[in-house]
Symmetry: C2
Subunit: 258 residues, 2 copies
Amino acid sequence: MITSTANAKVKQLVQLQKKSRSRREQGVFIIEGSRMFSEAPRERIAEVYVSEGYYHEHGEAALNGLKTEVLADHVFSHVSDTKAPQGILCVVKMAESPSPALVSSRNPFLLILDHLQDPGNLGTIFRTAEAAGVTGIIMSRDCVDIYNPKVIRSTMGSIYRMPFVYTDDLEAESKRLKAAGVGIYAAQMEGKSSYDQEDYGKKTAFMLGNEGNGLRREIAELADTYIRIPMQGEVESLNVAVAGAVLMFEAARQRRRK
Amino acid sequence: MITSTANAKVKQLVQLQKKSRSRREQGVFIIEGSRMFSEAPRERIAEVYVSEGYYHEHGEAALNGLKTEVLADHVFSHVSDTKAPQGILCVVKMAESPSPALVSSRNPFLLILDHLQDPGNLGTIFRTAEAAGVTGIIMSRDCVDIYNPKVIRSTMGSIYRMPFVYTDDLEAESKRLKAAGVGIYAAQMEGKSSYDQEDYGKKTAFMLGNEGNGLRREIAELADTYIRIPMQGEVESLNVAVAGAVLMFEAARQRRRK
């Protein structure tokens, strides 16, 4: 059992929680809690850590035969990103999808995310996207890190299942989609077409922009169609995860009817 | 200028930020920032406070002739709920709508919220609801306080414009709606009807439940129809603000076509 927060492994876990650079360099990230553990693809689990309390309560059985390191409770709390740690965390290998794979599904239904900054929004978008049948998510490199502990929590497990890729060149990526026959729709306040007047039954990608500033002009210009969500009252804009949900579920609704 | 955090007014402001009971007893709440200030209905503004820095930068002009108290910058930071205070806050009078008023609009489009706990979710629901044309929101008393500073921020001003009421008796309130001819739809995992198969052009209310546990059984039983949002993948549920958005904008879409 590891009893000191000065332990080298413990220090490394803390780095992985806090620094996206450490995660990127090592190609791994940390997930916490029983549910995220049970949903993790086994072949991607690199290391398992439990608290002393968890180990005494659940024993070996809960660990599915995986080699596990026990941390003293105070050490586990030190490593955990949550206020009330569940007592189990894993180091999991990253798995980005190669970007060509994202357009290879039978009828692609994609999201293009430009510079999203809020961890909760990104996680919620992943969760919503899986439910709506989205086949892949393309993110600009300056989006918040999907492997940030807060983002992971708010994906509710979708991080394991939703194909995604970060790109340094969202323009090139968008052009590649267009060449593959994907219609790109940008949600814009000044969009001429109401979102429910378009046909998303064919190959479709929705572009969603930064919380404060929306889509960068050069990115928005790559879209085929500007769409807007009609709004009443004095609301200037919707939360980006909400706007995304409205668009994704309209597409899902149309696709069920095909 | 107030220069001490021990000042009685300052102590009272801190109480109003932190305690829903203090807010309720005094019938007021605090809003922060230039935008929330400029959108506040003037007749509801009881007191205005600015930081010394704000006062020097913007002068009297920004204050629209309202009597204002200046706080030393460190005192303002002490009172502010945000990490980067904008330097202006107001005490605003509460204004709940009497519940009969909520069904008196021409074609009511209501939300019934049961035990919602997350401040961000509630605020986002208010913002989304205004945009979708919702005419009123009914909340069980154990929902998170709409006047919580975090909730206020995430409403983006909708708190001033969306009629709402807290009730100790959500059952009685729901029965009153039914008697007024409002169709009540409960979002339930086991709902038989897909949400897009119903007609929301008539008097409509959507019931949304607690983040972890959903709707309480006795509340859900008051609904006329259980609806579900079809989901793909392995997602068990949607975030409640997302589910609400999908339902509200489906209703808005249908109502535009009438």
